[in-house]
Amino acid sequence: MAAEDGIEAALARMAEALRARLAADAVARPLMVGIHTGGVWVAERLRRLLGLDTPLGTLDISFYRDDFTRIGINPQVRPSRLPFAVDDAYLILVDDVLHTGRTVRAALNELFDYGRPAAVRLAVLVERDGRELPIQPDVVGRHMALAPHQHVKLTGPEPLALTVQEG
């Protein structure tokens, strides 16, 4: 079934909240990192909305998954690309859906293999319940209440659309 739309409004809310966050942290040129695949799409949209001219970093967390021995390696793994120094940088980590928190945990582990950032803020398009780790976002596009057997998926990149799948 299709979730009710409103992605543009959610992205606008995220951009507004990020502006406020950056102002509070006194950061003019943050570096944005999207998590493959949906997080990269969301990050690209946010960069446009915020007018950021810094390059976009992309992370594929396949090598950092904690369920590797159960599900194996992702055959579609892509190289991560961080075209900037991570040491002492102010990073905005972007993902499409925050569910268990395991993907973000893996992304943080990977980021620290590139260096030691000054700060990492987390922005997600959709926050849903079901957290298994103590991870919480700084900026959220929309909250969704879903049953444990339901999954929300972002398709894109143009247009971006959210669908809720059963099972």
Binding site: F68, T69, R70, G72, P75, R78, P79, E110, D113
Partner: protein
């Protein structure tokens, strides 16, 4: 059947013993996964946690510092623990059978064996006898196969030339005795190479063998190099000369050695490869080995990424198949 032994019920790589008979999709998955691992080797921390808690045993019954080192480094960069067991220090010299050695290492909870052995089929033999959760990678067996070397060569060609499909690739040297050449030929043909030529003296390349491998035999180096996109020089095994299959090293270089002048017959953008270690002045002159068209050192770097890819694929098959 090597194919049945190498793939699990869902068509995923279970062991990596030979490139022969493996589907193109599996070979391409190795190359694609290696791309991501190559990026890892350029980071400040050149390590990922993928195989944390796993133990890899390098079982080398034949000496090879270079291959063993790259397998060891690949395993360590995947966060695995590594045991290096060479024949000289193993119980093999005390009369223990190959299978006894494997059983003992299994009892020590090893998850993977990288096997190098002078006997063709040794890695297959071990793969047939290991526990379901244990994976075997062939690190070179007799004259038979050296599949990770072949895949790192294919990876290097794809990265440097942008593709393998349609390319003319010349392999020069002792094709008959070369496990590297056999594995290269199978991999490159499966991956869509345009024409694979093999250049060797008649004693080292019977016409029937060339036909069976689906390659074009060339007796003369100039003929083999004409218009080639890729030139792969094989390492000359000196002991073959003692068997009178080859002339002296000097004569061999006169006939089959790669020089700048001879390389002019290949395409202007042709690349030169060699699995190493090089016999300078025998297979290849130093000016070519160290020249701008040589990608020999890139092959070494790529070897680690490709071995990381294969190791993660054979151990990452999931609980249902892996036990």
């Amino acid at each position: 059947m090597a194919e049945a032994l190498q793939l699990d019920g869902r068509g995923r790589l279970r062991h990596f013993l030979t490139t022969e008979g493996l589907p193109r999709a599996v070979l391409e998955e190795i190359l694609d996964t290696a791309e991501s691992f190559l990026e890892v080797t350029g980071r400040e921390v050149k390590k990922v946690p993928l195989l944390r808690g796993k133990t890899v045993a390098n079982l080398f019954f034949e000496p090879s510092t270079r291959t063993r080192t790259t397998f060891e480094l690949a395993a360590k960069r995947l966060s695995a623990d590594v045991l290096n067991i060479s024949a000289a220090t193993s119980s093999a010299t005390k009369g223990e059978t190959l299978l006894d050695t494997v059983r003992n290492l299994e009892a020590m909870h090893c998850d993977m064996f990288v096997v190098r052995h002078a006997a063709s089929g040794a890695a297959h033999f071990i793969a047939r006898h290991v526990a379901p959760h244990v994976a075997v990678i062939n690190g070179g067996d007799g004259r038979h196969a050296h599949p990770t070397q072949a895949m790192l060569d294919a990876f290097t060609i794809r990265r440097v030339k942008g593709r393998i499909e349609g390319l003319t690739i010349a392999i020069v040297g002792d094709i008959l005795h070369s496990r590297v050449a056999r594995s290269q030929i199978h991999a490159l043909r499966t991956l869509g190479a345009g024409e694979v030529r093999v250049v060797a003296p008649g004693t080292l390349l019977p016409a029937a063998a060339a036909e069976a491998l689906g390659v074009r035999p060339c007796r003369h180096l100039d003929e083999g190099l004409e218009g080639a996109d890729v030139v792969i020089m094989l390492r000359l095994q000196r002991e073959r000369m003692r068997g009178a299959l080859l002339p002296s090293a000097h004569e061999y270089f006169q006939t089959y050695g790669l020089t700048e002048a001879r390389l002019a017959r290949a395409r202007p953008d042709a690349i030169v490869m060699h699995p190493g270690p090089i016999n300078r002045g025998v297979e290849i002159e130093s000016a070519v080995a160290d020249g701008p068209r040589s990608v020999i050192l890139r092959q070494v770097t790529h070897g680690i990424a490709v071995r990381m890819a294969v190791m993660s694929m054979v151990l990452g098959r999931g609980a249902e198949e892996g036990g």
